[in-house]
């Protein structure tokens, strides 16, 4: 499984010289599965670059949306494969009692916010609510679970070839909860992240910023580290950078994260701050078979 970060920023695109290293595009992660199937996790402005980078349009690709805040869907109408008639795109997302996934997305892909309507997209696009049980895409098993954020929001886990990716970009698991003492099944998102090979998790705020943003749906550095410790993921990438955080600020946060992770008993090299265009290859592992004797 290959993972590439196409957009690492939260809230609003933040291009400029001060964010050029960590990137200014909003949430999008490209995943290539062991069998070559292609997934995009969220469709922030980073998905535009992902679409341009696809040398050959895949016949079918899946977009897994965590939720429908603008920074996670803003790139949809600038995703080149959506304008290729031969491409089939399946968009997965959270259910809502209010309206279907298609109708909620159509509020953005319609006048006056968009020059095109969903029905005008040349590709073959379909919309599916994520099931509560696992399902398969290509060679992967996909799991989705509701997580603590504002509005219907999912986190995802992708198991493929013996490796696993957990993606929970917008998440405030510590809202009203003590992550260090709560039982595991009472922590939002922990089931998805448990023992993941790679955990991509919200790390929007420095600790000093969090008190002014309680309930906004995002994590402080301390909360992200506590969550990662409970999850026991092999590697953690802190994601969804605050638009006010410059590269220099993120460098300092990265240094602090690694120091604190080391002090918690972890390997400092196993904590990264997300960098746009960074790539991770999760090795295909032999999965031991249970003999039926």
């Amino acid at each position: 499984m290959k993972v590439k970060l196409w957009g690492t920023r939260g809230s609003i695109p933040s291009p400029g010289p001060e964010t050029i290293r960590y990137g200014g595009n909003t949430s999008c992660v490209g995943v290539t599965l062991a069998d070559g199937s292609m997934l995009a996790l969220d469709a922030g402005t980073g998905i535009r670059s992902l679409g341009l980078a696809l040398a050959q349009e895949p016949a079918r690709l899946h977009i897994l949306l965590t939720h429908l805040h603008l920074d996670h869907i803003q790139g949809l109408v600038f995703f080149a494969p959506a304008f290729q008639p031969q491409t089939e795109i399946v968009i997965w997302g959270p259910a809502s009692p209010e309206a279907s996934l298609r109708d909620r997305i159509a509020r953005y892909i319609s006048a006056p916010l968009s020059p095109v309507e969903v029905r005008e997209l040349p590709c073959d696009v379909s919309f599916r609510h994520c099931p509560q049980s696992e399902w398969e895409i290509g060679s992967a098993r996909i799991s989705a679970a509701s997580v603590s954020h504002r509005g219907p929001t999912l986190g995802y886990r992708i198991d493929d070839g013996g490796s696993s990716l957990a993606y929970i970009p917008d998440h405030e698991p510590a809202l009203g909860a003590d992550l260090d003492s709560l039982e595991e099944d009472w922590i939002s998102g922990l089931g998805l992240a448990r023992n993941a090979s790679l955990l991509i998790h919200d790390g929007q705020y420095a600790d000093a910023e969090y008190p002014d943003h309680v309930g906004w749906g995002h994590s402080s550095l301390s909360h992200a580290l506590s969550f990662a410790r409970r999850a026991e993921a092999e590697r953690t990438v802190l994601f969804h950078h605050d638009p006010m955080h410059s590269d220099e600020r993120l460098d300092r946060l990265s240094e602090e994260a690694r120091e604190r992770w080391g002090a918690m008993g972890g390997n400092p090299e196993a904590i990264d701050l997300a960098v746009e265009r960074a790539e991770y290859e999760l090795p295909t592992r032999m999965v031991s078979a249970i003999s039926a004797t």
């Binding site: 939002s188 089931g191 998805l192």
Partner: protein, 136 residues
């Protein structure tokens, strides 16, 4: 992969933990999965001491009793009505704390309905005759 409790239960527990109003939480199967410190003070036993209690079992731990002091059938308890029938329920009743003291309370229960159906129910206890649900 381990599974988490439904998010609605997690958020309900987080909210209840911050309240001074006694509150109980059951899952979709009627299992008592949490009550807060205020409820623990009323019952004389903290949730951490008791832990999860199965459906049909928790009702008998604290009574409850009607005005005449007779046990109230499990099926008629507000929490059970809320979780089974998916509608709010209210009752005046007495509960017995760990030391045998009886407390008259008003109980309001409501179901936790989600896009995936009912995930459980919450009951809030209000000491009868009190203008302050926290009992202070």
């Amino acid at each position: 992969m381990t599974t988490q409790k439904p998010l609605e239960l997690i958020l309900a527990r987080n909210l209840m933990s911050a309240l001074s109003t006694p509150a109980f939480l059951v899952d979709e199967g009627g299992v008592l999965v949490f009550y807060n410190e205020a409820a623990g003070a009323l019952l004389g036993k903290r949730f951490e001491e008791l832990g999860t209690v199965g459906a049909e079992e928790w009702g008998s731990l604290f009574g409850p009793f009607d005005e005449a002091g007779e046990p109230i059938p499990y099926d008629e308890l507000p929490l059970v009505v809320a979780v089974r029938n998916g509608r709010p329920a209210h009752a005046d009743l007495q509960i017995s704390s760990a030391d045998g003291t009886r407390h008259r309370v008003e109980v309001s229960a409501f179901p936790i309905l989600t896009p995936h159906g009912s995930q459980g129910a919450i009951a809030v206890f209000w000491p009868a005759g009190s203008s302050n649900g926290a009992g202070h």
